[in-house]
Symmetry: C2
C-alpha cells in the first residue's frame, strides 16, 4: 500500500459503509484482507465487472456517473440471480490523484451503495490508466438462485422495461448532440442504469431462468437458450421499443443494443398466477415477448409468425 493509496482510501473510500453490521463483517477496510461471515442456510453470490475508460464508457463521462455505473452493472448481475446485494470490493487504477474527480466518483458510488445498504469492505487503489473493477457479493437462500440454465420448454419469456435506450444514449453521447430532453433521458439510461434488484428478488421461486441484459436482448436471450439447451422464439410485435421516431431503427436498438441492464426471465405456466401478482405490484412494465421452444438457437417472428433474418436488427453491428 503506497502513501497515495493510503490517503485516497482514508479520505474517500473508508466512508462507504452503510450497515455497521459487525456480525456480518467482522473486519472491513484496513488490513491485508477483509473478513465476512454468512448467515446459516445462505449462499454467497459473487460477480465482478471491470469498466475501462473509453471502452465501457465514453472518455468524457463524469466521475459521478463512472462511480455510479461501476456499481450498477454489478448490482444488475446480483439482481439477475435473485440475490440480496451485501458488500463489495473496489479496485481503482488512476493516472493521477485528482481530488475533485475522486470526490465525485465516490459520491456516485456512495449514492447507489446507500440505496442498498452496501458495505465497501476492501480494494486496491493504484496508478494506471483509468479502470474500475468492482466485485460484489450478495446472499441468497441455499439452492434458490436464478440461473441461465433452468429455462423449460413452453416457458413464457418476459422482459422488464425497455431495451435499446442505452445504445441510443451512447450514439447521442458520441455525436455530442445532447441538450434535447429526450436525449438526456437516453444518456441517463446509459450512464445511470437502474439494476432491477427488487424485481430479481421477487422472481425467486417464480422464474425458471433469468439474465440481465448487458450485451443486448438477442445476445443475452441466446445465453439463456444455450445454457438451458433449448431455443428462444421472440415475437417482434411484442417487444417494447425505445421512443424514437424511426421504428426500424428503434427495433434495431431494442434487439441489439447493449448496456440496458433490464432482466429477461422465463416463467412456466404453473407460475403464471404468481407472476401476475408481481406484475400488478411492480412499478416496472413487464412484457411477455416470446416463448422457450425445443429448436435450439434464437428466432424472431413477425406478426404472421414468419421467421425474420437476425441481421435485419444490426445484430452484429451493435455487438460490443
Amino acid at each position: 500500500m503506497s502513501l497515495l493509496e493510503f490517503d485516497v482510501i482514508q479520505k474517500y473510500f473508508s466512508k462507504i459503509t452503510n450497515t455497521n453490521n459487525n456480525a456480518d463483517i467482522p473486519l472491513a477496510i484496513g488490513d491485508d484482507a477483509a473478513i465476512v461471515s454468512l448467515p446459516e442456510n445462505k449462499e454467497l453470490v459473487i460477480c465482478t465487472d471491470t469498466l475501462n475508460d473509453g471502452i465501457h464508457f465514453p472518455i468524457d463521462t463524469s466521475a459521478y456517473n463512472i462511480g455510479y455505473k461501476a456499481l450498477a452493472v454489478n448490482l444488475s448481475d446480483i439482481a439477475a440471480m435473485g440475490a440480496t446485494p451485501k458488500w463489495f470490493t473496489l479496485n481503482v487504477s488512476l493516472p493521477s490523484v485528482n481530488n475533485t474527480w475522486l470526490q465525485d466518483f465516490t459520491k456516485g458510488l456512495a449514492d447507489l451503495s446507500s440505496q442498498y445498504k452496501l458495505d465497501l469492505i476492501g480494494g486496491d487503489t493504484t496508478r494506471g490508466p483509468l479502470s474500475i473493477t468492482i466485485t460484489l457479493a450478495g446472499h441468497i437462500n441455499k439452492g434458490q438462485a436464478l440461473t441461465r440454465s433452468c429455462a423449460g420448454i413452453g416457458d413464457k419469456i418476459y422482459l422488464s422495461g425497455c431495451t435499446g435506450d442505452a445504445a441510443i444514449g451512447l450514439a447521442t453521447s458520441l455525436t455530442n448532440v445532447i441538450g434535447d430532453t429526450a436525449d438526456d433521458y437516453f444518456v441517463n439510461r446509459l450512464n445511470k442504469p437502474t439494476a432491477r434488484v427488487e424485481l430479481g428478488l421477487s422472481l425467486v421461486g417464480v422464474a425458471n431462468a433469468c439474465i440481465d441484459i448487458s450485451d443486448g436482448l438477442l445476445a443475452d436471450a441466446l445465453h439463456i437458450a444455450n445454457a438451458s439447451q433449448c431455443g428462444i422464439q421472440l415475437n417482434l410485435e411484442s417487444i417494447p421499443l425505445p421512443k424514437i421516431s424511426n421504428k426500424e431503427q428503434a427495433r434495431q436498438y431494442a434487439l441489439s443494443g447493449g448496456d440496458d441492464y433490464e432482466l429477461i426471465f422465463t416463467v412456466s405456466k404453473n407460475k403464471q398466477q404468481a407472476l401476475d401478482n408481481i406484475i400488478k405490484k411492480s412499478e416496472l412494465t413487464i412484457t411477455c415477448i416470446g416463448e422457450v421452444v425445443e429448436k435450439k438457437g434464437i428466432e424472431v417472428l413477425d406478426k404472421n409468425k414468419k421467421s425474420i433474418q437476425l441481421s435485419m436488427f444490426g445484430y452484429e453491428h451493435f455487438k460490443q
Copy 2:
C-alpha cells in the same frame, strides 16, 4: 459478455478448477454470478490486488510471470491472515487477444492455483490497457484470523526469509544486466514471489499480529504499529540481508525495498515455545528482528542500542 470474452474464458480460464467441489461451489464460471457456500463456523477472508503493466511489473515481464505473480500477491494477503485460500475471481484487461500470451498467462496462473487447489469461479475479460485484478477468498475458523491490530507491548517481532531481494531484482530488470546466476535469483524473487501460506496457517493461535511485506519492511512494520497503537523497535544487526557485496546497500534494500511477500509477525512471551516448535519444523529461516514497544512509530537501533535516522535506509526513495 462480448464474443471476445466468451472465447477467451472458454478456451483458457474455464479450465482453472482444482477441487471440483460442488458442495462448496454450486455454480462457477458461466452465469451472471458465481455461487459459493461456507462451511459452518468458518469466516470468509477476502483480498484483492490489481497489477498494472509498467507499474507493478516491468513492461517486458513474461505473461507466465504476470499470471503467477497476480495470484501470488493475493495469496500473500491470505497468508498474512492465517487463512486457507479457496477460490478467486479474475479480471483481465487486454489490448488485444494474443493467444500465445494468454496461454502463457494461464499457465502461470494455473501452476500456482493448482498448488493450493484453488478454483477460478468467475471474472471479466475486457479490452483495455493490460491490467490484472484478482480477488481471492479463503476460509478461517471464526474469530481466528491474524490481523495487524493485535500486537501487544513486549511481543517479539519475527520475519520470515529475507527482504530486499525483490527490489534488487527490480533494479536488475530495469538495468538489463540479467544473466548472472545471482541476478537470476533476485529477478525470480521479484517475478515469482512465494506467498508464505503454510507459515501463516501455522501462526494461527500463536502470533498476535501479522502482515505481509509488499511496501517494505519499515513501511509494513509501521502498519502493524499504527493499527495496534503501539511502536516497533527493530535491531539493525538482526535483520537478514540480501546477498550482495555492498552491506550498506543491502541494508537499504532489506529495510525499504518492497514486493518480497515475506511475513512479519509478533509473538508474546507465553507463545514463545509454540513458535520455537514452528521454527524447528519450518524450512524457512525465521528471525527475531525486534520488539513491540509503547512509544509509537518505528525505530531502528544499532548494535549499541542507539536510534538510527530512517532516511539512512532510503526509506522514501524505495517507497512505491
